[in-house]
Symmetry: C2
Subunit: 355 residues, 2 copies
DNA sequence: CAGCGTAACTGAAGCGCTTCAGTTCTCGCT
DNA sequence: AGCGAGAACTGAAGCGCTTCAGTTACGCTG
């Protein structure tokens, strides 16, 4: 005995299949009494409504938004920024009656191409993927509409980004204003190769991550206002926005001579790791070293000291990404990139440079 | 000019549709040369392989595992335990060639029934939902296989749970052994009503969350060994496993007279909030108050002081849930509940009771 | 009362794919 | 030469639903 279908119900009630379909999808197309009878019969037969897959085939819409991310879920969600963006995105697409299909990355390079090819989805949102992610090729092959968050730049896709350059420059100017002149950068990886260590000019040259590059450039641009040049600014690459990695990088930075008095971090998580490293080395924050984060996640204001950081509106970012995805579905053109603004949030982790 | 289909390719190559299908799905059914020609032609036509939705309809498998959670994503992922479980789950189902469909909750009660009814999925995993979640009814109506993580108890579903009772008892015994006699509980909500405040016996009576109840019972059971009874154990309900809520609850608990010397927390996040509250009130941890967490998330070992906590193997939990989901798909019976073991992880947040 | 608009319902053509029972052809073996 | 086995490929029947162009019947208008 098979599961009931539209047909089973139709026959039982003695109407056509179309009518049963209408009972579920266009109540105005039949009399209320008949509709009620149909629903009632369906319930008795254990029919739970039109099969979603068959409906998708007939309507030519999968009804889901795929979300691709670079790493696996656990490392991804240790980045609180992602949770916030994803939540806002989910709320937006859900209210548009679509589900969220999650495609986590494998081994740093994003999801497998195969996962994308088999995904039942109408549109995909790529969250901060490397330029050469195989998943992106697959998206193009399937000719699916694409919304890119942060990076990379993909022709024909809609884009939501943050003013990384401007934000980083704000951070740099801030420490400059406080009198700091020996400034270091604690940042994300330049490429998806898991490199962990000081960045070399060559690596900067052939970087794959726009965000890393833009923030780095923003820092340098700001610092240039006091004549500080790239060569004087140590830059540690951490292959992920994780506290532990920030701690490790900061340790190295604090070991340099002359020791930097300010560390510009590309995320709050890295910054919190840096604070920890300073603690462990007996360096007072912000007395001896100032630390600036990026993102303004909840943890930034929670900690002791609270974090001076570059605030980006993460909820807005997720919402915009969702809205763009929905709009792309209606066949809208990608349009201009949406840029989320930033501002400096001064708190307790920065202070005038020590004498 | 429409998108190409199997048929387009078949006609172009001059073979039957079945053969093209075989080229993608059963390479052994045709000669390598023909297969190559087909793939080549497909590429030229811009055909990216069989349409996933149509394939699903034909094969009668949606190819995805739905994951339902109680809250929205952002609050959900502020619970690091979830990230870990979800990641392990994702890895397991992905290797089984299935995608993860995320169904976040709305307003504390889990996902909407409608979301479940329209979900293209073969099996659903429910993560710590309240007993009366409408989504669960929808799952039953659709007769989808169900794997429940933690709670509630649903007849006919597979279950992955943790030895909550035993773990809680371990925590209670630990503080007892250290000489504590005034012990408080800082826990999750008993029902999905967002209640925030001291728990009353009536609320305990008609609780909806098994986990909260079991842990509470475990604490009491342990404490009973020194003759401590429920009435002597203040219990604050926090409507979520969030640091800020833990802090608030702990404040209240620390305001009681006589002040508890030990606080048993149902999660590490709550415990970290309690540590913070103690700090702010000038209470030394563990000198004046001991605090025990639950879960052993990364944050537990990271903080100062590090957290004494009940460790559950979260990765294993996610993996088991994934494996069960996959097995249910093959028509396996639910079987006995899988219980993940716990053990006490003693660290720096507990010490002998003050004299 | 003819004419017409509308509400209520139906028939049938897809949506794009898989799969199974054939059919044909080739080749090795006796 | 004859036979059988296997390889290579095909035809057609679904999978369960939506949708659109009709068809019927009915009440209303002039």
């Amino acid at each position: 005995m098979r599961r009931p279908t539209l047909d089973t119900v139709a026959r039982q009630v003695g109407v056509s299949r179309a009518t049963v379909s209408n009972a579920y999808n266009r109540p105005d197309q039949l009399s209320a009494r008949l509709r009620e009878r149909i629903i009632e019969t369906a319930k008795q037969l254990g029919y739970a409504g039109p099969d979603p897959v068959a409906r998708s085939l007939a309507t030519q819409r999968a009804g889901s938004v795929a979300f691709m991310l670079c790493d696996g879920l656990s490392s991804a969600f240790s980045d609180p920024a992602l949770s916030i963006v994803l939540d806002a995105l989910a709320a937006t697409v859900d209210s548009g009656d679509r589900a969220l299909l999650l495609l986590p990355g494998v081994s740093e390079g994003g999801p497998r191409a195969q996962s994308v090819i088999r995904a039942q989805t109408d549109v995909v949102v790529a969250y901060s993927l490397p330029d050469d992610a195989p998943a992106l090729r697959a998206v193009r092959e399937r000719a699916l509409p694409l919304v890119v968050v942060d990076q990379p730049i993909v022709p024909g896709s809609a884009i939501v980004r943050v003013d990384d350059f401007g934000g980083a420059r704000l951070a740099a100017r801030h420490v400059l204003d406080l009198g700091h002149r020996r400034v270091a950068v604690l940042g994300f990886g330049l490429s998806a190769d898991g490199h962990r260590g000081p960045a070399t000019p060559e690596r900067v040259e052939k970087a794959h991550f726009r965000v890393t590059l833009d923030r780095y450039a923003g820092y340098l641009d700001g610092l240039a206002e006091q004549g500080i040049v790239a060569g004087e600014v140590p830059f540690w690459e951490a292959p992920g926005s994780v506290r532990e990695l920030g701690r490790e990088g900061a340790r190295w930075l604090f070991g340099l001579r002359p020791r930097p008095t300010a560390v510009l971090c590309m995320s709050d998580e890295l910054a919190l790791g840096a604070v920890r490293a300073a603690d462990e080395l007996g360096l007072a924050v912000p007395g001896e070293v100032s630390i600036v984060g990026f993102d303004d996640t909840p943890a930034a204001s929670w900690g002791v000291p609270s974090l001076t950081t570059v605030r980006q509106d993460l909820v807005e970012k997720g919402r915009q990404a969702g809205a763009l995805a929905l709009r792309m579905l209606d066949g809208a053109r990608p349009g201009r990139p949406v840029t989320i603004g930033v501002k400096l949030q001064v708190r307790g982790s920065t202070a005038p440079a020590p004498a």
